[in-house]
């Protein structure tokens, strides 16, 4: 079983990297770009058969280590 974790800065916490990428894209003629956010993706291979259990364990990992919940939100997707 595989877990895909996406970690992004919370709404309201300024994403300086997203802003810089947005600026770079706009100045290269990609004028339709409205907003850019930069985050990270963490892919975890697990010895689990039950997706609910896997998700619960990964949520625990996010709270403990993978995300800093003072400034970041996370999303978890479980793939069989």
């Amino acid at each position: 079983m595989k877990a895909i974790v996406n970690v992004f800065l919370k709404n309201g916490v300024l994403d300086s990297q997203g802003k810089a990428v947005h600026h770079a894209l706009s100045s290269h003629g990609f004028e339709s770009v409205k907003d850019v956010r930069v985050g990270k993706q963490i892919i975890i291979e697990m010895n689990e058969t039950d997706s609910a259990t896997a998700k619960e364990k990964v949520a625990h990992m996010c709270e403990e280590l993978l995300a800093n919940t003072v400034i970041e939100d996370y999303e978890i997707e479980i793939q069989a």
């Binding site: 300024l14 300086s16 990297q17 810089a20 280590l65 993978l66 800093n68 003072v70 400034i71």
Partner: protein
């Protein structure tokens, strides 16, 4: 006076810190992160600067999982004095011993230069030898020094005199190098026994090397 200095893989300011406290007459001991206890008799534990675990995932994030951090939490919760410098500050916020978080610098650059700081509160062991509004010259060297805290917690910091230092120019006017909320460079916890700052007072103990303003700050911990 005995100072313990925590060393993670990637820490690189432990020997500067050791030199600084030794030159102030302290006994010092480097504490490897795999130790699961703070040695008896430590009057201060410093979480030194550097790049613990290569700053992988987030600065200070992996270090907080090291065995010594569990011991440090117990030590701090029993009133033991802790100072986190630069990466040490990041480790202390990640651990929850200090509020807030350190984000990537607003300008995205690594900044390494001397910077002026203004003393905001001195009713604590760290800055008791400094006066309020005193401007000190201390080096900064960081990529993730952009202090973030939500507005509610920020009010609490002010109400409890936990805001210690702000980035300024030489005249004491706010000069924010990295986007930190309210230009904050250093804070302490509510109990005033855990301190964290991004600038490096241990690199400012010799006038010949640019500044000795850090000496009075570190001296605050001695026989406090």
């Amino acid at each position: 006076m005995k100072v313990g200095i925590i060393q993670f893989p990637g820490t690189n300011c432990e020997y500067d810190t050791q030199h600084a406290f030794a030159s102030l007459g302290c006994e010092t001991e480097i504490l490897w992160h795999k130790n699961d206890a703070i040695p008896q008799g430590c009057d201060l534990v410093v979480v030194a600067g550097g790049f613990s675990y290569g700053d992988y995932l987030r600065s200070g994030a992996i270090a907080k999982m090291s065995p010594i951090m569990k011991a440090l939490k117990v030590y701090a919760n029993n009133g033991g004095k802790v100072l986190g410098i630069c990466n040490g500050f990041q480790v202390l916020t990640e651990t929850g011993l200090l509020p807030g978080a350190l984000k990537r610098n607003e300008g995205l650059h690594f900044i390494s230069r001397h910077h002026h700081l203004k003393v905001v509160n001195n009713e604590n062991d760290f800055l008791r030898h400094c006066s309020i509004d005193q401007v000190v010259n201390i080096p900064i060297a960081h990529h993730d020094g952009n202090f973030y805290i939500d507005s509610e917690e920020l009010q609490e910091l002010y109400a409890n005199n936990q805001v210690l230092l702000k980035y300024t120019d030489a005249s004491g006017n706010i000069d924010n190098p990295n986007g930190s909320v309210d230009s904050i460079a250093g804070i302490c916890n509510k109990a005033k026994n855990v301190f964290g700052l991004m600038p490096h007072p241990e690199r400012a103990i010799e006038a010949l090397l640019g500044s000795n303003d850090g000496k009075a700050m570190l001296e605050g911990f001695i026989s406090a």
